[in-house]
Subunit: 370 residues, 4 copies
Amino acid sequence: MAERLRVGILGATGTVGQRFIQMLEGHPFFEVGWLAASDRSTGRRYEDAVRWKLDTPVPAAVRDLPLSPATPDQAPSILFAALDTDIARELEPQFAAAGCAVISNSSAFRMQADVPLVIPEVNAAHLSLIELQGWRKHSGGFIVTNPNCSAIGLVLALKPLADRFGIESIFVSTMQAVSGAGYPGVPSLDILGNVVPFIKNEEEKMEAETMKLLGTLDGTSVRPYAVRMSAHCNRVAVEDGHTESVSIKLRRSATREQVLAAWSEFQPLAHHQLPTAPAQPVEFLAAEDRPQPRLDRMRGASLYPDRMRGAGMATTVGRLRPCSVLDWKFTVLSHNTIRGAAGAALLNAELLMQLGKLSGTHTRTAAVTA
Amino acid sequence: MAERLRVGILGATGTVGQRFIQMLEGHPFFEVGWLAASDRSTGRRYEDAVRWKLDTPVPAAVRDLPLSPATPDQAPSILFAALDTDIARELEPQFAAAGCAVISNSSAFRMQADVPLVIPEVNAAHLSLIELQGWRKHSGGFIVTNPNCSAIGLVLALKPLADRFGIESIFVSTMQAVSGAGYPGVPSLDILGNVVPFIKNEEEKMEAETMKLLGTLDGTSVRPYAVRMSAHCNRVAVEDGHTESVSIKLRRSATREQVLAAWSEFQPLAHHQLPTAPAQPVEFLAAEDRPQPRLDRMRGASLYPDRMRGAGMATTVGRLRPCSVLDWKFTVLSHNTIRGAAGAALLNAELLMQLGKLSGTHTRTAAVTA
Amino acid sequence: MAERLRVGILGATGTVGQRFIQMLEGHPFFEVGWLAASDRSTGRRYEDAVRWKLDTPVPAAVRDLPLSPATPDQAPSILFAALDTDIARELEPQFAAAGCAVISNSSAFRMQADVPLVIPEVNAAHLSLIELQGWRKHSGGFIVTNPNCSAIGLVLALKPLADRFGIESIFVSTMQAVSGAGYPGVPSLDILGNVVPFIKNEEEKMEAETMKLLGTLDGTSVRPYAVRMSAHCNRVAVEDGHTESVSIKLRRSATREQVLAAWSEFQPLAHHQLPTAPAQPVEFLAAEDRPQPRLDRMRGASLYPDRMRGAGMATTVGRLRPCSVLDWKFTVLSHNTIRGAAGAALLNAELLMQLGKLSGTHTRTAAVTA
Amino acid sequence: MAERLRVGILGATGTVGQRFIQMLEGHPFFEVGWLAASDRSTGRRYEDAVRWKLDTPVPAAVRDLPLSPATPDQAPSILFAALDTDIARELEPQFAAAGCAVISNSSAFRMQADVPLVIPEVNAAHLSLIELQGWRKHSGGFIVTNPNCSAIGLVLALKPLADRFGIESIFVSTMQAVSGAGYPGVPSLDILGNVVPFIKNEEEKMEAETMKLLGTLDGTSVRPYAVRMSAHCNRVAVEDGHTESVSIKLRRSATREQVLAAWSEFQPLAHHQLPTAPAQPVEFLAAEDRPQPRLDRMRGASLYPDRMRGAGMATTVGRLRPCSVLDWKFTVLSHNTIRGAAGAALLNAELLMQLGKLSGTHTRTAAVTA
């Protein structure tokens, strides 16, 4: 892997932008060469402008990068976007129209018919939707999105069961980490010793995205998965990691062993060589009191030589037991800013690259380095 | 209110025992005159033996009380019991056999056929089961229990709906406070920045107790309420107050207004004069992000002159909205060591007193004071 | 207590404004009749405009009060001010110039030579400074301030020792609650599982205010107390209650018994009848691991019939032991939004009233109620 | 590094024992081949017996190791000990007498005259004390200890200043993480939303150990450093990382630049090749609000090829500013179970190995693996 593609980050100073930078350090495919944030930061050194909130240092390679204006003029042709929804709605199309591949974590275009909403292990085929995008036709640019942080862990756990048994109903109650709200995000007076049983628009997004992710590509659009789903979303005093209590009704009955086998045999990316893909995307934990966010959110050993690269990319499940109302109940956990945000987008980009969807934009990159 | 009955507390130094002492300070019916704890504390002053964990001082009236052995010999004829299950299973029958009224917060006898499991607002009629108890027949003693801290808030919220519309299915996912596990209870390393998706036996208790509480007294036993119920129990980093995400399917459909009316009109104790009964046992909060444990657990103004007496006895509900899997979903909150433990037992005792069930034990009390 | 003076609150929707409203409910001297907050709230009902963050309900008497513009035109002649510093610097003089008594919790004028910075138990005599204020001379209005939330608990604990033994050096390291930063204040991502060893300007304020509070009124100004003082200010994951590790060097040596006696005999307001004054302003706790914010911040039984009125007004001290660098070391705790903010201002107002300093403004109050 | 020495762990299932196992995974010098814990675990597989509380998986190499009885019979000749003090006092001499090198994290023998209490960067020369130990003379075995978790970060920050300027007085107030108390350790009811201003014996240990660590080896014993020191120890709601507010008086005055230079130039192990040694043992952070435990506890890039090996081994300092009582004040942070416990012992072992003190025990190891 001598050459790496030069990429940029939109929203580079925010919570998810920081994760992008952390996860892209030493990445075998991509190299961060361009950063943009809000107007008031333009021109500042990255390290001076950012309020870095991760427990590893700001990577040396980006410390001195200047923050550019968020316009496509000088931007690389591959962009990771971590923008607030309103800003994403305005800016992302500008970049796509200018020929850029926009790998977005925002919710702005997730439900648009011709925009793929993708988890590589779940619905890689949906990526072909980009060929329908007007931007793609005119300039080669496109937008690909990943789901909400609360949907992604759930859908990873559900996908193997949907494939083998079908799912008729889903009940989920979440206990979500504060990092999901960004920074400054949740005031400490709201969450210390407390639970907030409300996250604006979260339940609606979680339900709609789950159905699109599990849906079927039907020529020019995705037919949503036919399932009844009800989400309760709660915020708890956890820094990172969304925990979810889940009950499901299957279309065809399954034994405990069959459910466990569906999870353990779920390795849809085994034939790919994606650096950030965990070897085991859904890990079942047998202990009666797991998964727990503080202990299990960083699971996900990669197949790749650098075994830390997949850390935080696995969804863990546990406490599988019969449900008296539906069929089975269990607990799901995933890291909301890694698997649920920056890592999700990064894995999408890795897959796009291996599918050759980023190749057209390669030549535009002047500053590819070894 | 010239005379007060002398009462004792079994397990007086524990988390719930402390709440008993706090709630009984200045109580119009009862006066604490006898305390028992584990053997190693016997003979010590209460204030010296207890690791007091409440934010009001140890009441002056009990500071100097000596801790007695946990035997019925010198005990008053009315006892509040806050014992661990194994100890309760052994000791409570000894006190009942000796003629004592045992008002128990333990789970040891809750599901025994002739032991009432009672929430005064929900199933006061079940108290007549005590007349079937062998202890009652031989010595006048009996055991009355209150439910688990996670069941009680839920059942208060469900009862008005069960009465008006019938309930077919219940889904509940809890976020429970650490005080529910007593002291030392949950290690801080397990809960800081974390969620533990498991509480031993809690889901089973919650399901079985809900059905008994909503059940029908059928001659000599309680016919459980016919409902499908599935509980997920989780521990979160909250000191006091259990929050629950609930979905239900009704037998007869109800509009939002009808559900709200069922809650607001639910005042089954209005004709009683129970000091610890909240004027409004189920309070609906209209704000989109309530109830929250830190802000709402102390609700429950009493009808009684001392308006603080009911604090912590109300169950609050909020976020009523349609459920795509069942019919309605909402959030329930109640204070787990007040409404869910000591206050539950105390309210049972107040009701027993007004029903004359404690009158037979009155004369035995030597030390009644004005 | 048939008549109560009508008072207003500037900054009524903030964290401290809410405490004012909570503490003034049923107050024997004062009645809240006027509220002001930021411009965008003007005209709204208080209950609609406020994000109420206390665990008691919004008092019925203020729920429907409209929010007025923050101008003196219609304001009562007694105002409690809980404004941000910059706004206080602009608005408080306007109200004082219009003849109002401004009882301020802001830091804007605390160090101004003719503005009293007062804790009633510590330096009531400093109140006479108001007679030097230009506003007082022209319109009768004046400004009185109370200290920073971190200084007030410390100075209460130091005053009895300064009086008896003199203090030469003070070392203090604080662990401050998040409510001290208001709302939204400290982001949860900054404080969950964390310590922030920095609070802007806090150390400077704490040092300067301590010297003024312990200083001597010298004709027309306060001569600061001559002491060497060094403060370290830290923020911790506590909702309410500032804990401080303190070491001091005395001018004249004192035994442990003499230090304890100085604290226990410190009752400078015993001859007053101030409703919010705790009977024992400095409580020493003998247990080896106290005081603790969650358990001890609400101490302070009042001499007044309503024993809850002083709750949160006592400073607690504990762990008195020799210091190898200075003379003695101990831990100090006080409630930062009660004793350290709203309660501090309220106690100042109660003292001003008993001193007759509020009498001139009495007649202006149209809406006095029984 | 083809050969690795076989080592054992005493107290392998506890909080520090787990860190030993985590840090020894893939270690270039040592390989874990023997584990012992309490009697009731003997014979169980490690993974079955341990309640693993770290966020990386149990290393594959130890999962199946059986727990041995804690006797020297079958033990390797190099032992890392993470035992409670009382047990350490009994067991460690048995192992030393049997010829083992006991690298202990316990406090049992730290202050014994012929037992080295060592931080490699601070007082490596003290290791020669082992030659005075009776065990050493008779069997070759010895005991080496590392300091308390609260002392170690402080002393690392002080050592460069003591060397250049001398230190006359030290004031320190700690905010210590709960992991320092082991598991189950601090009950959650004691620390959620709270501060506990007391840790049994901690202040005494911190003061005495600091003086021994900074002391001078004087023939056959260590002459303690002559300094006046006063410690306040507090427990806060932080999982890992002790934060300390420090003031010091120097013997010779120093400018800010001189203090910063002393820290930045402090690289006493630069000529060694110790895998776990951070390249920069004392890192100064310039931001006004750092260091913070959640963000900075994992600092410490190693000189060794595997750059994660030193993570958590650096002490960070920040907020250097003049002190009005002494000379300078600043904040110190270090990871209490890495630099403050398991990593401290491991670094001692690495240094002992390079000094040839472990060579005599090498041949005894039957099971050295490549």
